[in-house]
């Protein structure tokens, strides 16, 4: 690693750098150790057994599908809103930006209870839905809403930064060439912010996938993978829960890596 701009020779590591490397190793160890331990403590046969467990597979599939649905569905209003936040100044914009970030700091159990108070059978909205014989509580729709609630900031913020990085002049040039605002949005703004939008979608999806607290409160059943792992832990103990946890971890990791690669793979020659 080159530290000086004066010579090309590699100077030795300074004391500070050495300490920083050591600190980094500690941080990485802290993240990796529990996961490694989980992997090492789980026997292969029990993992295979879990992989054939219909209940486990169902919960993983439910997690993947609800999180995907939440991300895609909410991207429809979130992406134009992110563009607005990046481009325009309007009344109470600061407050809106703070509001968007709020789900990140709200404890997730609180988020779940808050959602329940809006969607539950005794609330206005919940009552209205109930009149049609429907309920989002203990239903995949409720799970998707709980996931969206806690993960939406990732998409909005990433897309907003992406739009802000697109030179406004390109949008003006397109308008000047006679394109409608809608056409400018879809042919100039979105393609140029695509990487940030995709990254935001992946982050939102990943965050939704791993959500436990809010989902647990809105819908214990049908069980998503995190809820099932908790259920197994409290019913059968660590050994049983461990293999399901590892399986879910592996699936999440694989999906995450694939999506990150897709999101990161789109590059343009920029002027």
């Amino acid at each position: 690693m080159q530290t000086g701009s004066f010579s090309n020779s590699k100077p030795g590591l300074s004391g500070f750098e050495l300490a920083a490397y050591a600190a980094g190793a500690l941080v990485l160890l802290f993240v990796a150790a529990p996961l490694c331990s989980l992997a090492l403590r789980t026997s292969l046969p029990s993992l295979f057994e879990t992989a054939r467990d219909a209940q486990v597979l169902k919960s993983i599939r439910l997690s993947l599908l609800t999180s995907l649905a939440a991300s895609l569905l909410f991207s429809i209003p979130a992406i134009p809103f992110a563009w607005l936040l990046a481009r325009r100044h309007f009344f109470l914009k600061g407050l809106m930006l703070a509001l968007i970030d709020l789900p990140v700091v709200v404890p997730h159990s609180t988020a779940g209870i808050a959602l329940l108070s809006v969607l539950g059978g005794r609330s206005c909205l919940g009552g209205f839905i109930k009149r049609f014989g429907l309920s989002v509580i203990d239903h995949p729709a409720g799970i998707a809403l709980a996931m969206a609630f806690v993960s939406l900031p990732f998409l909005v913020n990433s897309a907003r930064e992406g739009f802000a990085a697109v030179p406004e002049r390109l949008e003006k040039a397109a308008l000047n060439l006679g394109a409608s605002q809608v056409r400018v949005f879809f042919t100039v703004s979105v393609p140029l912010a695509a990487r940030a939008i995709l990254t935001g979608l992946v982050m939102m999806f990943a965050r939704g996938l791993s959500e436990f607290g809010a989902v647990l409160i809105v819908a214990y059943h049908p069980m998503t993978a995190p809820v099932l792992i908790y259920d197994r832990l409290s019913t059968y103990g660590l050994r049983h829960a461990g293999s399901a946890a590892l399986l879910f971890l592996a699936v999440s990791l694989a999906v995450f890596v694939v999506l990150r690669t897709i999101a990161g793979g789109r590059r343009h020659a920029r002027s």
Binding site: R169, N176, V188, L192, H268, A269
Partner: protein, 345 residues
Amino acid sequence: MLEVENISCALDNFTLAGITFAVRDGDYFVMLGRSGAGKTVLLELLCGFIRPSAGRIRMDGNDITFEPPGRRLMAIVYQDKALFPHMTVRENIAYALPRNLRPLADRLASDVGAAHLLDRYPGTLSQGESQRVALARALARRPRILLLDEPTASLDTPARSSIRSLLRKINSAGQTIIHVTHDYEEALALATRVAVLEEGRIVQAGTPDEVFHRPKSEFVANFTGIPNFFRGIVRCGEDGCLFETAGVAFRVADDAPPGSACAVFPSDCVTLSLCRPEGSARNVFQALVMETEQARHGIDAVLDIGIRIHALVTRSAARELDISAGRRVWAAFKASSVRVIPAEG
């Protein structure tokens, strides 16, 4: 015909106040002004990206002051070109074309000499190439008026002269152009009409001859800098190049391109004396002083050497030589102080 009437507009850091001018069909209208004089803002006002606080913009008599940008038929070429980086050159040019006319992009590209670039991305183009593509993209819109923001500012000399000749070609095909620049050479090389913008106002407008020969204010004179400018022909022979205008010929630098051109030289490069000065590199003329005027840095003397030239002399020199109307003196200026700006090609 575009009429801008009394447009005012206050932005964060400066104001445009009472801007009035008219651009006739087929004009090459150059708006001269220092950086920060409000030139780009003026173009964005014409495009509809900025709303004026007062005044009217009319196109062929129709009020378009508040018409949305997409309906104005004014195509702007920004200084940074603003090409879409994620589209090929072909897609860029075709952006303004309806789907069934997309194939026209190829012809537009060859009109501006960019046919070989069609499949490339803007990030791979040189400044001059980007400028050609940006022009083709704007022309695809079939604009009533083409708006250019410093179109040659970032170019090197050869690219600049080829872009200038392209602009001349576009204008002579009937395209009305409004071109803003801080460079008086652009105005001399291209304009049929010139307006000078200073601190948010138009201080003078007219033909290049009017504006450069009879600057109305000290600002215009200082800004254009050069009251000595002439249209004529450069002829090059064995012994160097001569610039001929109105029956007078003077020597210019040997590398001047032959053909129609403007010649300019600063008035402070003209030296006056009572005896004929020596030296072969100089243009020496017998001159009759027509009039004198106080200028900020001395005396501005108008001399007749067959053409009228301006000489800026210090007050002490003017006293010594007794410069006054009717006096005969020798006037000299170096060939190297004459700047030749090709007006064709």
